[in-house]
Symmetry: C2
Subunit: 159 residues, 2 copies
């Protein structure tokens, strides 16, 4: 199964350290998504959505590790219970604000993605599909660590 | 960029027709996710989460089409403004209920995925990360079509 870049994500973040660790912590950060011309037509009607999902390739992530210590906690957790990039398939998922659409360029806010990251997919964020009331979010509810930005622990060579 | 199956999703849905079109419309549907043994350790702590994201490969999807008529509307929309499977990278995204974890088997509810679908990734659904207040969800807000189940329009040979 092969995936291909359908565009490139541009952001103010050149290095793995200091990137907001989720769009929820990236309020002021703006960037652009340059979609390849052959996919421009498929952007029709996207502008009606306030938020969109970006799926992308963690091209600078360290190899898979079964247990990782996430930025938000002092304890290690199973990789699948975290959003850390060191995944078997290094696919990232971020729900960003769609500020405007100009041809094949999307201007987005709340970006938590490294500059130059290959784009894999765009999906609309719909209240009817994506807004779930949950009462349990595991260790993420329990942690009180106030970290909102990354360091380089999940990038480059295995640590 | 290559992705590999890290497990298989099992559901009551053998055919493209009649599958709930989103987990939000799949209340009663239960299934299992069989994770490959080499990734079992990475499931640690997942059980604390009420919902999880499944990323998977639309292995029976029709080829990419720039504009598609989604189940929920009578008008065609740009592919990226829909969740239709006929994507340049056929990666699906569903937020399912995590009912229990038994070794490397997850029991899940609200499943909208075809039986036998290759699993690519599991991520926790966290209220802090995934719950956004939005006021605009484009054409999905505007449509009044009461469809909740698929037909086979996005599967098999190009239509």
């Amino acid at each position: 199964m092969e995936v291909k870049a359908i565009g490139t994500i541009h952001s103010p973040f050149q290095n793995a350290s200091g990137v907001p660790i989720q769009p929820a912590f990236a309020e002021g950060a703006e960037g652009t998504v340059e979609v390849a011309p052959e996919y421009a037509e498929a952007l029709a009607d996207l502008a009606g959505f306030e938020r969109i999902w970006l799926l992308y390739w963690f091209d600078r992530a360290a190899p898979f590790k079964a247990r990782v210590k996430p930025y938000l906690d002092d304890q290690a957790h199973g990789l699948f219970a975290t959003r850390a990039p060191a995944r078997p398939n290094p696919i990232g998922l971020s729900c960003v604000k769609l500020l405007s659409v100009e041809g094949a360029t999307l201007h987005v806010g709340g970006i938590d993605i490294l500059d130059g990251t290959p784009l894999l997919d765009i999906k609309p964020y719909a209240r009817r599909f994506d807004h779930f009331e949950v009462t349990r979010s595991g260790w993420i509810d329990a942690t009180h660590k106030g970290i909102t930005k990354s360091d380089d622990r999940f990038f480059g060579a295995p640590g």
